[in-house]
Symmetry: C2
């Protein structure tokens, strides 16, 4: 398997931390990014200790600039501003978005009404990047709690560039032990991202960590 230098922008959040851990376990060179380089390094140490391999940390723009592949694992709130600020560092790179634009109120989680998904917004803001949507649905705690492959789940991958999508589908092996599923064009991120609201809703209802599997496809 090809090993990549992967920058996890927002790697101090639970989803970023969990994915950074899995990528590090799988032998990729992982660099955790944060707005605050000190916090990034703290989190990198925590991940390194658990994974048993070196993990570096630094400020978002610096780690993104030095990486082959950048994972955006940031909150939706402030997403456009953050991506704009990183545009130079992201230019020409494979950029993975696992950002979920969700709202929460007394009725629980729900998908925001948007004409454009987070992944599409990133693509629009950085036209030369190869943006791929993936890793929206694997629960942060499931990623972090054990080193076991989440072999009963599937990673759905969407994007408009076939090679970038294949690269990211391959990275999914670090999470599920098998390649991700090609879910289609980047615009389908509008469907994949808010599906996370349904999973969170089920987690609360059934007191579990639910995940998605696709039947009828062998990858």
């Amino acid at each position: 398997m090809t090993k990549y230098r992967i920058a996890v922008v927002g790697g101090t959040g639970p989803q970023g931390r969990g994915l950074a851990y899995r990528f590090a376990l799988a032998g990729h060179e992982v660099v955790v990014g944060s707005r605050d380089a000190g916090r990034a390094k703290e989190k990198a140490d925590e991940i390194a200790e658990r994974a048993g391999v070196a993990v570096a940390g630094g400020e978002n723009a610096a780690v993104a600039a030095a990486a082959d592949v950048v994972l955006l694992a940031v909150p939706w709130d402030g997403h456009g501003e953050l991506v704009t600020g990183l545009a130079d560092a992201l230019a020409g790179k494979v950029v993975i978005s696992c950002v979920n634009p969700l709202g929460f109120d007394g009725g629980g989680p729900y998908g925001l009404v948007l004409e454009e998904s987070a992944a599409q917004e990133a693509q629009r803001l950085v036209p030369s990047a190869w943006v791929v949507g993936a890793f929206h649905h694997v629960a942060a705690l499931s990623l972090w709690k054990t080193p076991d492959a989440l072999s009963h789940e599937d990673v759905l991958v969407c994007g408009d560039d076939v090679e970038a999508k294949e690269l990211v589908a391959g990275l999914a092996t670090a999470v599920t032990g098998k390649p991700g599923i090609d879910a289609g064009a980047l615009r389908l991120a509008r469907q994949l991202e808010p599906l996370t609201a349904v999973l969170i809703s089920m987690n609360k209802r059934y007191k579990t960590r639910s995940g998605i599997a696709i039947t009828g496809i062998q990858v």
Copy 2:
């Protein structure tokens, strides 16, 4: 298991036909509805022959008025007008919506940008109905091709009334051999409905009939 008289409005379409077949096989009294009573009866005969039990057919409003439970299996195009026309027949009933508001173009299928799902629209148009969203993701051909339970798939059920949702979760046994999963509030139909675009996209990509399964939940 409680047996219901189920009217399948739009039962001449592939999704309606497939679900009517499964409900008939499971011992429910199924009545197929169409705008045209003659076409409804033809389709009812086709389903009856395959299921080996009696299936009736008639005009949409008439079959809905006589049913305990009404399944809306109609195209999104014209949905509001159709539900408005059936409002009297749907009043006070459990109404299941499996309607998928999708668009198709050269780039494939996609979810329409809507503030309100089809299920929410039906609820708004018939406030006294108990609207439940379900059965969006089971492929029409998988429903129709064999009498076998689609035991590897899950039916996701959303709604705001607990009893109506439980009734519909029970009906899912006719399709998957197990109850449906409570996916949350009716507004999450905004996430469930267009997810079908992703499944159709994967069907084309992998030449298969894909389906959804939820991991981490035992029903």
